[in-house]
Structures are given as structure tokens and as C-alpha cells.
């Protein structure tokens, strides 16, 4: 595969730029996209790099089209991807649903902004429900919630691989802060780190003579009978559940003796990390749990973290009203730890917000 980074490069750039470079390093072939703040720069960087590396790009007429053109691209065997946010994410649920149904390995970068509707162009964590369970399906998706530019880079590379290996659409769930802020990261070509990139393959346009060398490939996403659909969906669910242990990622600190565990995802987890350190320094036994994959959710791992010391309380902090909380509750049903919440929809959370909340509920 083409080396695009060369010598492992320490760089200082925005998250959007890091995302564009990651897609390039991962061997993506073509991007389809539509302008919406705060992800536009992914397109700006990609369109400048594309001709130099023989990559494709089309700005489509809207997000419905961007999502469906990506579906077409992956069906034809090319590593296609897109990026969007807010109302664009809403529109893309239609093509994402098709990707779920037809097991299409698309990759989408989501930079959350305030919602609902046009909300703000700035930041939120309000697209969790949409990105994990949007569309009219069962959420057969892989969703990574990143918290740094290094993770944006790393998980895009991993994301393309898992998409093409497991055939579930993959989402890199960032946010407006990550998109627009500048911080350091180290870029690299995957092979230099021993990462083998999964080769894409077509589902249609297979080559060879039809009727002689092979039969035609017919893809569909509709069934005549309820029973047919039932069979298909339950099989996919079983496959998804079986693969979950290989896909799930999370981070956990200080839960062995924790009285209270702070559960956060994405960029808020950095504030949570700082908060736990500060609380511990004050003698408060706080623990930290961060799901990195929101789908599939590290359910077993969270239960185990709680069980380590029989933590009595969980604090769920998010820049939304209960979207992470809903996921947590559904996954840890039956646990008796009391759940406290810090909801700041559309607003950034800093360590003192979490520290104050912890102290108020102790």
C-alpha cells in the first residue's frame, strides 16, 4: 500500500486535518461529502491531497447523496468514507440504515454539534443516540468515541480495518472541539507499526464472465416475508454478539477501591481523568470508566469495574441529556449502584464541574 506519511511524523494540527490524513494513511480511495460545520475541513484537506495520491472526491448535492454514494463506493469494492455532523447526521441515517442492512463497510466521521435541529455549530455529545441507534434498524454498527487527535488517527485506521473485516458500518464519533482544536499527535503509515490493512473487495462488479465464470451478484435490502427478515436479522445479531469481544474497547482506572465511579466518553473523559486525580489527592476514592466503543458497549467490563469494590455510586457526565446514561442503563440493568448525572447539553465539561458534582452527592 502507498506510504503517505513516510517517517513517523509528530505533528500539531486540528482534528479535522488529522482525520483527513488518517483516511489517507489507511488507504481510503474516495470521499463523498457535503458542507456542514464543524467537519468541513476534512473535505478541504482531502481535496487538496487527493490528486497527489490518486484519490477521488465528490461534493454531493446533499447528505442523503453523500451517504448513498459511499454505499455505492463500498459495494463496488473501494474504501469510501464520509464525514458529517448534526442535521447532516440525521439525513445520513437513511443511507447508514442501508449499510447496516446490506452489511456495507462504510466509515463515517461524525463531529457532534449542538442539537436538535441547527442547534449550534460548536460542540455537543448529543448525537450518541443517533450514531449508535439511528435509522430504522437494530444498531448493528461499530461506534468509536474518540477523545484526542491521536485516537482520531488510530481509530480511523482501525475503523477501516474492522469495517472491511467484519462488514459493519463504522463510525468515528468526535465533536466540534476535537474537530477545531489543535493539539499534538504522531502520524504513521500503518505497516510501520505492524498493522496490516484489510484489502477491500467488491460485492458487485466482480469481474469475470457472467453465465460462464460466475453467476450474477444480486444485492437487496427488502424481503417479502416477515419470517425471512427475522431469520436475517437474528443471524446478524448473533454474529454481532459473537464478534463483540474482539471489537469492544474501554479504559478503566482506579476502580479497584472506588466508592464512586465516573462514567464518561469522548473528550469529556479527559476532564474526568483530571477530576479523578484531583479527587484522589483529596482522599476521595473516585474511579474512572470510559467506554471507547459505544457500540458494542463494554457491558461486561463496566459491571466488573463496579463489582471490584462494590462501588455504590456511578456519576454519568455528558454534554447531552441522558444519551450516554440511556446506553449505560440498558447495558447494566440489574446493578444496584445509584446513578447520579451531570448533564450539560451542548456545553463543554471541565474537571471542576465533575469534582463539584462528585462532592455534592457524596
Amino acid at each position: 500500500m502507498q506510504r503517505v506519511i513516510g517517517e513517523s511524523k509528530k505533528s500539531f494540527m486540528t482534528g479535522n486535518e488529522a482525520a483527513a490524513w488518517a483516511c489517507l494513511a489507511a488507504g481510503a480511495d474516495i470521499m463523498f461529502g457535503y458542507p456542514i460545520t464543524p467537519q468541513n475541513e476534512v473535505m478541504h484537506y482531502w481535496t487538496r491531497m487527493a490528486p497527489k495520491y490518486g484519490k477521488g472526491f465528490l461534493q454531493t448535492e446533499d447528505e442523503l447523496s453523500a451517504g448513498f454514494t459511499v454505499c455505492g463506493g463500498v459495494q463496488s469494492g473501494k474504501k469510501a468514507f464520509t464525514a458529517t455532523a448534526g442535521p447532516g447526521n440525521v439525513l445520513m441515517q437513511e443511507p447508514f440504515g442501508m449499510a447496516e442492512a446490506m452489511r456495507l463497510p462504510l466509515l463515517a466521521i461524525i463531529q457532534q454539534r449542538g442539537g436538535p435541529s441547527s442547534g449550534t455549530v460548536v460542540y455537543s455529545q448529543q448525537e450518541v443516540t443517533l450514531t449508535t441507534y439511528g435509522g430504522n434498524g437494530e444498531g448493528h454498527r461499530i461506534v468509536y468515541s474518540t477523545s484526542s487527535h491521536q485516537e482520531i488517527f488510530d481509530y480511523i485506521i482501525k475503523g477501516f480495518n474492522n469495517a472491511w473485516k467484519y462488514r459493519f458500518p463504522v463510525f468515528i464519533l468526535g465533536d466540534g472541539y476535537q474537530a477545531k482544536m489543535r493539539e499534538p499527535l504522531e502520524m504513521y503509515d500503518p505497516e510501520t507499526r505492524g498493522i496490516e490493512m484489510v484489502e477491500p473487495y467488491p460485492l458487485i462488479g466482480l469481474g469475470g464472465k457472467i453465465g460462464e465464470e460466475r453467476g450474477p451478484s444480486h444485492l437487496c435490502n427488502i424481503y417479502s416475508l416477515e419470517e425471512e427478515l427475522y431469520e436475517v436479522i437474528t443471524k446478524v445479531q448473533a454474529e454481532y454478539d459473537a464478534l463483540a469481544p474482539q471489537i469492544i474497547e474501554y479504559d478503566e482506572k482506579n476502580c479497584e477501591d472506588a466508592d464512586i465511579i465516573i462514567v464518561t466518553h469522548g473528550i469529556v473523559s479527559r476532564a474526568a481523568d483530571d477530576a479523578v486525580k484531583a479527587l484522589r489527592a483529596q482522599g476521595i476514592k473516585a474511579g474512572y470508566f470510559r467506554p471507547i466503543t459505544l457500540r458494542p458497549f463494554p457491558q461486561k467490563e463496566l459491571r466488573e469495574a463496579i463489582a471490584k469494590n462494590g462501588a455504590k455510586k456511578l456519576i454519568i457526565a455528558e454534554s447531552a441529556i441522558g444519551q450516554l446514561e440511556r446506553l449505560v442503563k440498558q447495558e447494566i440493568y440489574g446493578e444496584t449502584a445509584k446513578i447520579e448525572t451531570l448533564f450539560m447539553p451542548g456545553v463543554g465539561i471541565i474537571d471542576s464541574d465533575i469534582i463539584d458534582k462528585v462532592k455534592s452527592v457524596l
Binding site: 457535503y34 458542507p35 481535496t47 461534493q59 448535492e61 442535521p87 435541529s117
Partner: protein, 249 residues
Amino acid sequence: MAVQAIPKSWYLPSKPHKFCPGCGHGIVLKALGEVIDELEIQDQVIFGCDIGCSLLSWNFFACDSTQTHHGRTTPVMVGIKRSRPELVCIGYMGDGGGYSIGSQHLLNSAVRNEKVTLILVNNTNYGMTGGQMAPTTLPGQKTETSPYGRDPEQTGYPTMGPEFIAQLTPDSAYVARATVSKYKQLKKYIRSALRNQMEGNGFSFVEVLSTCPTNWRTNAQQTWNFLEDEMERYFPVGELKNPFGKGDK
């Protein structure tokens, strides 16, 4: 009769407005404001705006207004007009909202001859989001997503909106293209467009060629040159369809 400097239908608390220096929106909205005053329809007007720079007009007028989603101003206006035909529905959008994401609504509303008035401001780029390529970006024009210049081999030629709308609509529709460099003509076309709705004839559509020095990265002289020499040459100005008499193309 003395011309009032600020139209009565303008909403003073939202002035000075937030459009960039050199932006054509201010000129279009002034012409619209004056026409609304002259027709005395301030209380019947529903003003709808899209996302993008047109969004900045959401509280521009002292008329009832609604801001919609990107590309959805047309169907919202249609919904209002069909529910309350006595209202004068004016949809205001850019070239992205009208010819890109909103094109299917524009097309279908034109075919159905919906009795709404749409004003589409064409400045050849997506302004608010930082200057991406638009359906009306000229061949060779550099934008954030056509950094090496628009290549018609790759992305086709600029959308000729009024031309295709004229094809889709019956003769009772009013279709025109104006420019901010010709103010009297702009007002005339806006007035005819609104008259077409108010008299119950049919669809009315006015594209207005406009300026965006911020994203074009042009100084004042270059801005006017681009509008008058490049855009007006590519997009012919005039009335393509006029139920009130001969078009003045």
C-alpha cells in the same frame, strides 16, 4: 416623494446587520424591503430563510419570519401557503440551499406551480461554511473544495437555475434573474414576482447574482469585476417568463 432610507418593513433592533462588508445580501434585502413597503404587505408576509448566510436574515424584517433547515425553505413556504393562502410567502435562500440540497423541492414546487415567491441569492459558493464549491461555481473558479479550480469534466457546468425552472413551469409562472449591480431592475423583478403570487397566478422565482468578497478573497474592485464581467456574462440577466407582458431579456 422622498425615498425613505430605511424600509419600514425592516426590523431596526437587528441593525446594523451581520452580513460581511461587501456582501450583496444587504442590497437584495433592501430592495425586498422597499417592495414590501410599496405593496403594503408587511402584515401578510411570511419570510422564510435557509441556513448559510441567508440565515442571517431570520430577524431582518419586521414581518413574521421562520428559519428552516438547509434546503427546506421551499417546502416550509409551500406548507404555509397551502394552509393559509392569504399570506404572502417569500422564501429566501442561497445557491447551495436552492440548487443543491433543496433542488428536489425547488423542482417539484415549480412543476406544481406553487404560489410562493422564492428569491435565490447566487454568489457561486457556500459562504457561511467557509467557501466550498456550489452548483453555480464557475469553471476554473477556486473554492475550498475545488482548490485547483472547478473542472467541468469532473463536476459538470454551473447550474442555470432560472433556465431550468422556466422549462418546468407553465406560462403563469414568473421567472427572472437579477443582479445586485442593477438595483432598479432588481426591485422591478421582485415586485413582479410578488405580484404574481398575490394575483394568484402561480410560481415566482428570482435568482439574484450577488457578491462574496470574503470567500472570493477579492478587494472591492475585483469583487465588482467578478460580478459584472464574469458572472453576468455566464448567467444572463433578464426575465425568462413574465405573465404580465413581454420579458425584458
